[in-house]
């Protein structure tokens, strides 16, 4: 295998992209069409200060256009550190007001701690599914219409475009995508977790895989599901939530539970 010293000073981001596409031509990686709009660098103090507002975060974090920091790719790669983020948060608001923000930072530590204690690899089911189905009832492969963002549901396709084009997806949309893949399409969480690991700029094995297991119910008391009303409530200002454009998601929780799970799944 030849040893290649990479040249990183290029005219612009597109030039770097073209160069890397050639240098990594032999590697089996997802190619994509263009770089993410998220630029890899150390965030400035001003950027961190602007991004971190724990009060707004606590109030709006579940909304697609809510005030989330979008700093996860930078945290993932050590370009910004959590203690710095905590200092900024607590310089603005009391600990009680900042609690949801601090908890969000702590989730990654929780997943890391769980992963450290696992006796085995991070791709195994930690518990059985609580859906009335066995693991063998789930497909090993991602359906092509999901990979192509051509599912029957406009909102799901919107979130898939976020993932594939930018490498970033709002946390709530990640949960929708994971629940859609595992419960609506009955695909093994491992296939979905692999898909996320391929695309997310903040791809962290412990956080990613254990979150998928939480949604799937192999690391939680019950499966996480959602319906179109929920998507409309949190994303309706940005995402197409028309029932006719989201047929698989439209229904009450009772209807969806009866449709998606077997017997007394809980």
């Amino acid at each position: 295998m030849p040893m290649t010293k990479l040249v990183l000073n290029h005219e612009d981001r597109a030039d770097l992209w073209t160069y890397l596409d050639l240098e990594f031509a032999e590697d089996h990686i997802d190619r994509g069409a263009e770089p993410s709009h998220i630029v890899g660098k150390i965030p400035t103090t001003e950027e961190l200060d602007h991004a971190i507002n724990p009060s707004e975060y606590g109030r709006t974090r579940n909304f697609y256009s809510g005030h989330v920091t979008r700093l996860s790719p930078f945290i993932r790669h050590g370009l910004t550190k959590k203690p710095t983020m905590v200092d900024i948060a607590l310089s603005k608001y009391a600990k009680s007001t900042s609690e949801k923000f601090l908890q969000e930072l702590a989730w990654g530590e929780f997943w890391a701690a769980v992963a450290e204690r696992m006796d085995g690899d991070l791709w195994c089911d930690l518990e059985p599914y609580k859906t009335g189905f066995e693991a063998d009832d789930y497909s090993d492969e991602m359906p092509q219409d999901i990979l192509d963002a051509c599912t029957p549901n406009a909102s799901i396709n919107h979130f898939i475009h976020d993932l594939v084009r930018s490498g970033y997806v709002h946390n709530h949309a990640r949960m929708y995508l994971a629940a859609y893949v595992v419960h609506f399409r009955r695909v093994k969480w491992q296939a979905g977790a692999h898909w996320f690991m391929t695309h997310l700029l903040d791809a962290d094995l412990a956080s990613n895989n254990l979150s998928w297991q939480w949604v799937a119910s192999t690391f939680s008391h019950k499966p996480y599901i959602f319906n179109l009303d929920n998507v409309r409530k949190y994303c309706g200002d940005t995402v197409n939530c028309e029932p006719m454009d989201n047929p698989e998601l439209d229904g009450s929780y009772e209807q969806l539970t009866n449709r998606l799970f077997r017997g007394t799944y809980e």
């Binding site: 295998m1 030849p2 040893m3 290649t4 010293k5 990479l6 990183l8 000073n9 981001r13 770097l16 890397l20 596409d21 240098e23 990594f24 590697d27 089996h28 990686i29 997802d30 190619r31 994509g32 770089p35 993410s36 630029v39 890899g40 660098k41 150390i42 790719p73 993932r76 790669h77 050590g78 370009l79 550190k81 959590k82 905590v86 601090l102 908890q103 930072l105 702590a106 989730w107 530590e109 929780f110 890391a112 701690a113 769980v114 992963a115 450290e116 204690r117 690899d121 991070l122 490498g167 692999h194 898909w195 690991m197 391929t198 695309h199 700029l201 962290d204 094995l205 412990a206 690391f219």
Partner: protein, 132 residues
């Protein structure tokens, strides 16, 4: 003996980058790791941009670690690695050939996990929140 710091994707800007003197700082895209772990060109592009933005020059390779870290002129180098959080990457690095003289540096931690294991977040949170 020269000192080389080998940056890992978990921490492209570790504290030791600025706090210690390094003869060379390197980042490697190891094709074996690229084959083992799903990757996209977007992720590689993001990492390369980030490496180019660091205050200290980093030499970036797409290569087998053995070729880079034991190349002529570097045979006497000791390679320092900040221990990754990613347990798969840690396992991958632990299988490096013995020709590479590795000094493991402890990873920086924000929260020290409690001694007892917790399987649910809010029990974990209640145990650690006083550290913040």
């Amino acid at each position: 003996m020269s000192k080389t710091l080998w940056l890992q994707p978990d921490d492209l800007n570790p504290d030791v980058l600025a706090s210690e003197h390094w003869d060379e700082v390197v980042y490697l895209f190891d094709p074996e790791w690229l084959a083992k772990r799903p990757h996209s060109l977007k992720q590689i592009h993001f990492i390369c941009e980030a490496l180019a933005s660091l205050p200290i020059p980093v030499t970036v390779y797409r290569a087998n670690p053995l070729d880079v870290l034991t190349a002529e002129g570097q045979a006497a180098a000791q390679v320092s690695i900040v221990e990754p959080r990613d347990i798969e990457l840690r396992d991958h690095l632990s299988q490096l050939p013995s020709e590479i003289d590795v000094r493991w540096l402890p990873k920086t931690t924000w929260i020290h996990p409690p001694a007892q294991p917790f399987r649910r977040f809010f029990k974990f949170w209640n145990a650690v929140k006083k550290q913040i």
